[in-house]
Structure formats: C-alpha cells, structure tokens
C-alpha cells in the first residue's frame, strides 16, 4: 500500500501525467514473437502453414521421389496397382508410380499459379496505380476496359485461346495472365483514388516530389494488403483454370502436373474403376492448397481491418458467449446463475430464446 504521507507531494503531478505505458520494452524478443503469434488470426496461420507445406513439398519432391516417372511402363504387371509398401500411392494405368508423379507434379502446378500471379498482379498494380493516380479521361477508359473484362466470362475465351495457341505451361501462364489482371486493377485503382486525395500526398506534392516517387514511395506501401489479396486470388484463379483446362485436354497434358494427372486419370476411367489412389492425391492437393490461399486471404482481411478483427473475436464473459443482441451482462446476475457443479445454468437474456413464449410477462405486471 502506498504510504501517502511520505510520497512526494503536489509537484509530482506532471511526472505522473506523463507516465507512459510501455509494455513492449519489458518483454524479451521471444515473448514478443509469441505475442505476435498469438495475435495473428488463426485463419492466417493455418493458411500460411498449408501454403508453406506444399511449397516445401514441391521443392523437396523431385529429390525424394522414389521412382522416375519418366521411365515409362515399369512392368505390365504393375499397372493400376492399389497402394502398397513398394508403391505407397499405387500406380497408374501405365504402371507409373503415383506418389512420384505427385511429388514431381506439384511444383510446376504451383509455379504456374505463382508466375501468373506475379505477371497479372504487376500489371494490375501498374494499371491501377496510373489510372487511380492520374484520373481523368485515361482513367475513364482504363476503368471501363477493366470493368468490361471483368464481366465477360473468362473461361470460354481461355478455352479458345489455349486451344489454338498451342504451347507449354509458360504459354498457359501468359494467357492466364492476360485475362487475370482486371480484378486487381479495379480494386487497386479504387484504393489509389482514395489515397490520392489524402493529406500526405498533398504534402509530398508540396515538397516537390515527382509523381513517380509519390506513387512508389508514398502510395504503393499503403496498397500492400490489397495487392497481396489480389495476388492470392490470381494464384487461386490461375491454378483452378490451368487444372480445368488440362482436364479438358488443353495445354501440355503430357508434362507431369497435377492437372495432367487428373486428365489422364479421367481419360483412363480411374473414376469409374474407383482407382482412388490415382485421382484423389492430385485433386486433394489442389483443393487443400486452394483452401490455404483462401484462408490466408481471410486472415489478411482481418489483419487489415481492425474492426473486423475485434468483431471476429469471440466475446465471452464468465464462460458465456455474449451476442450482439444481448443486454449488457450484470455481474450480480452472472453470479446468481451459477448452479450446481459450478456450471452457469442460465443467463437472464437466455429467456429470449423463446422456448416458453407463453410465459412472457409484462414488464409492468411485476408490481
């Protein structure tokens, strides 16, 4: 307890008022990392973990693949084998080891998505920044163009383009990029427009910074989360589209990719013959990787929007979820509601649940 009589008197007021809470300085770096980790949304962590896992898998994959998937037809007896100790994921209709194909094929599939993501997003950033920053007639035209591309369905165009521009995975990535940029450009343009009108841009103009410098140094860093989210969606779109096109037999189906595996599996009736070891691994990898991307994006949303992050948190008081519609809880009532075995039996606002509507009584009838 503070000894009031020996404490310094009045003149300590200023010092007291200035005392600032500096929790960060008190903790070690590990504690701070731990705190950061704890404060990161679960979705973000899960998504990142999934993505890191598959990226690692595709890097290490080719080195640990047990068989050479290009050494065609190991033996005619080894065709369509169910999983076993020698072939952990069985073999396909040409006797090739499915596990090896998966380990080697994941890389190119993800890479194609990433390449498309980088190309298309760079384009979105350039177009979005320029249109949003300069505005005017150029912006009108560009945004009309992006909006038009946004509403014209991409896939028929993709099918036509990929079917006739024959080429490998790089070609496919280029074609996908051509059709993949409008969405990102649109959101980046909108955000740039709102940033352009803010004080810090005006201040930078005052000091005579060049437009290019303002765009790159002042505005671009503030677009990071939007760019990240647009990149994530582009990668997701590119993987789904490339796999879909390959399933149609378009593109380089003979290269070892997950899409090519699915094409061959379905072509060789793996689905009808229920050769799950053949079609499930590539499909599930695509689905789970896609899920990772989606989760990562939701996590980014929460990080970028503190209001959403706060609102997303479970609101609990005394072990009880509190909903937005609930009246402010009263401690005395919480206490009273603790029943046998220490369980909170019922909170006052729960009566609302409406089980016994007939027992509704008037507020005023309690007199």
């Amino acid at each position: 307890m503070i000894n009031t009589l020996t404490d310094p008197p009045a003149d300590s007021t200023a010092a007291n008022a200035l005392k600032v809470d500096l929790p960060s300085a008190k903790y070690s770096i590990f504690k701070r990392i731990w705190a950061t980790y704890k404060n990161t949304p679960f979705k973000f962590k899960l998504g990142l973990a999934i993505i890191v896992f598959f990226v690692l898998l595709s890097v290490i994959g080719p080195f640990v693949a047990p068989y050479n998937p290009n050494a065609n037809i190991t033996s005619s007896a080894g065709v369509n084998l169910a999983p076993s100790a020698t072939h952990l994921l069985g073999t396909d209709s040409t006797g090739e080891d499915v596990l090896s194909q998966v380990l080697i094929g994941t890389g190119p599939t993800i890479l194609l998505g990433l390449i498309t993501g980088v190309i298309a997003t760079s384009f979105s950033v350039i177009v979005g920044l320029l249109a949003g920053y300069y505005g005017g007639i150029a912006d009108e035209i560009i945004s009309l163009f992006t909006n038009v591309f946004l509403v014209i369905p991409a896939l028929p165009l993709l099918i036509v383009l990929v079917a006739f521009i024959q080429g490998g995975n790089i070609t496919m990535a280029l074609v996908l990029s051509v059709l993949g940029w409008p969405w990102g450009a649109r959101v980046i343009r909108a955000q740039t427009m709102s940033l352009r009108n803010q004080d810090f841009v005006a201040a930078a103009k005052e000091t005579g910074e060049s437009s290019l410098r303002i765009m790159l140094v002042e505005i671009l860093p503030k677009l990071v989360s939007i760019i990240a989210s647009s990149f994530i969606f582009t990668v997701l779109y590119a993987i789904a589209a490339s796999v879909g096109l390959m399933y149609l037999g378009l593109g380089d189906v003979n290269s070892i990719t997950l899409g090519g595996m699915l094409f061959n599996a379905s072509n060789q009736s793996a689905f009808i013959l229920n050769e799950y070891w053949w079609y499930l691994p590539p499909g599930l990898i695509i689905a789970v990787f896609g899920m990772g991307l989606v989760l990562l994006n939701y996590g980014l949303d929460e990080i970028g929007n503190p209001r959403l992050r706060d609102a997303s948190k479970r609101q609990k008081i005394g072990k009880r979820n509190i909903r937005p519609s609930d009246p402010t809880p009263v401690l005395a009532l919480l206490n009273r509601q603790v029943g046998l075995f220490g369980r909170i039996s019922k909170l006052p606002f729960e009566e609302e649940a409406g089980k016994n509507k007939s027992k509704k009584h008037s507020l005023y009838g309690r007199a």
Partner: protein
Amino acid sequence: MRFILRRLWFYVVAAFVAITINFIIPRLMPGNPLEAYLGKNQGSAVLTHSALCAIAEQLNTTYQHCGHKQPGIFVQYWDYLVNLAHLNLGVSATYDTTVAHEIALTLPWTAALVGFSTILAFALGTLIGIVAAWRRGGATDGSLPALSFFQGIPYFFLALLLQEIFTVHWHFLPSTGGDSTSVVVGMNWPFIASALEHSILPAATLVLASMAGWSVGMRNVMLTTISEEYVLAAQAKGLSTRRVVWTYAARNAILPNIAGFANALGLAVSGVLIMELVFSYPGIGNTLYQAVTGEDYPLLQGIFLVISLSVLAANFIADGVYVILDPRTRRRAAD
C-alpha cells in the same frame, strides 16, 4: 434512373467489346476454317466449286480457288454485325445445323442450371453468413474456415467426387446426361422429373462450391455492420431481435454481396462449362468443348457470344436489384 442509364451505357459498351473480340479471335487463329470444315465432312459429299465458295463465304474465310477476293477487314466486320443483327450466327461445321439452332437446344439447360444454383447458393450462403456473424464464435462461425475447402476445390473435381460417391458407389442418382433416354422431351411430367433428377448432382456441385464465398463475404460485412450505430439504435428502440437482424443489419450487409455478383457469376459460369463435361450434361459447355475439339469456328464464335451476352444480362439485372436495394445509388451515380 440516371444510375441505371449509366450502367446501361456501360453494358452496351461491354457487349460491343464482346462482339468485337468474338470477331477478332477466329481471325487470329492459325489454320483455315474451311479446311477444318472440309476435313470434318470428308467423303460425305464431293462439293462443287460454287458450293465450296458459298461455304467459304458462310465461314467468313477465303478459299484460294474462289473467284471473289476476300473483302477488307472492315467490310467483313460490317457484314458480321449485319449478320448478328439478323441473329444469323452461321452454320455449324460439325452438327450440320445452324449455330443458332444448336445454341437454342443447349443454352436453356445451362441457363436453368446456373441460374437456379447461383441463386440458391447466394441465398444459402448469405443465410449462413448472417447466422455466423450474429452468433460469432458459435458453431456456424467455427465451421466457416472448413467451408473454404470447397472454395479452393476446382468445380470439375468436386463434380467427379460427387459423381463417384453418389453414382458409382451408392447408385443413388443418375450419373450422366440431362434426362433419361426413355422420356420425351417437352412439357410433360416424366421429362421434368427426369431432368430434375439428373440436375441434382450438377446443381449440388455448383451450390457447394460457390456457397462458401458468399458465406464468408456476408459474415465479414455483417460483423462490421453490426457495430454500426444504427444497429445499436434499432436495439435501443426496443425492436425484436429478428427485426434488428433482418431490417437493420442483414439488409445493409447484403449490399456488397450483390455488388460482388458479377465476379461470382463469371466464376460460376466458367466452372459450369467444365463441369458439364463430367456429367455429360447437355448444356452449352459440352457443345463448346465439341466445338473446340472439332475446330468448329462458327459454333465456337456463337457460343462465346451467347455466353458473354447472357452474363452481361445477368449482371445488368443484379445491378438493377442493387439500385432497388440501395437508395443512395439513385442520387449519386456511383462508380
């Protein structure tokens, strides 16, 4: 009203761009459509020179032995527009019917499937989002991350899985086709019942795959809407919880979702086109695939055009709904 007119103008431009792309693409393609056509119909008939030239004209292409010269590109473009205006999409190289007829046969199947499934997915997803947000931290909310699995999965793979489970394994539902072969196409009950039965799996695929996106979108907007002061004000007014949730929170939170309809519809259409192949569904996606493998340019062009215009029309409707639901757009013509 001004907003609608502005949007209408935008859609006219978009349609024009789609029509132009449709004109340009085949002309950028390697190979000669006439040769493709002839290759397809080899041996079926020996064509006279004049018949050949007629087909060449039909296909908007040159044939070296024909007397007439290829008209200039702008004349071609004008002819193309005139033909379009007469709903003349040319003759299919593979099916020996007009493109318009082929599309008229297949488009209703796809349109019905996509229309129904997208609206169902939107309704279900939005509902889940509302519940998840209002009971944040509850079971519904907790299961949303798991739903994102369906967002990452390619449509056709989900279709293959459902087909595997429900038809190959359990013989529960018909696996392929649009109706059973024993019924007569038309407005009769056996046909409709059969068509419905055959569309359960394709529709389920679409709904499952697109619902998750709507749910999470709705949940996030709803969470931020709930913390708006007008929701608190509605509670302060002593309105019932139901009224607060629907009229004051969900009513407003649904707007961004409707604005995002364009994007979602494009994805759904793309997904459906591939998925139809899995179910051998007699829709336009299957025909598109046939056209691609058969290098059937007129059909390809026609299908691309019709799909683009349908999506534009659907988006225009969604815009209209948005205007009805958000009075603010009626004054300041938003972007």
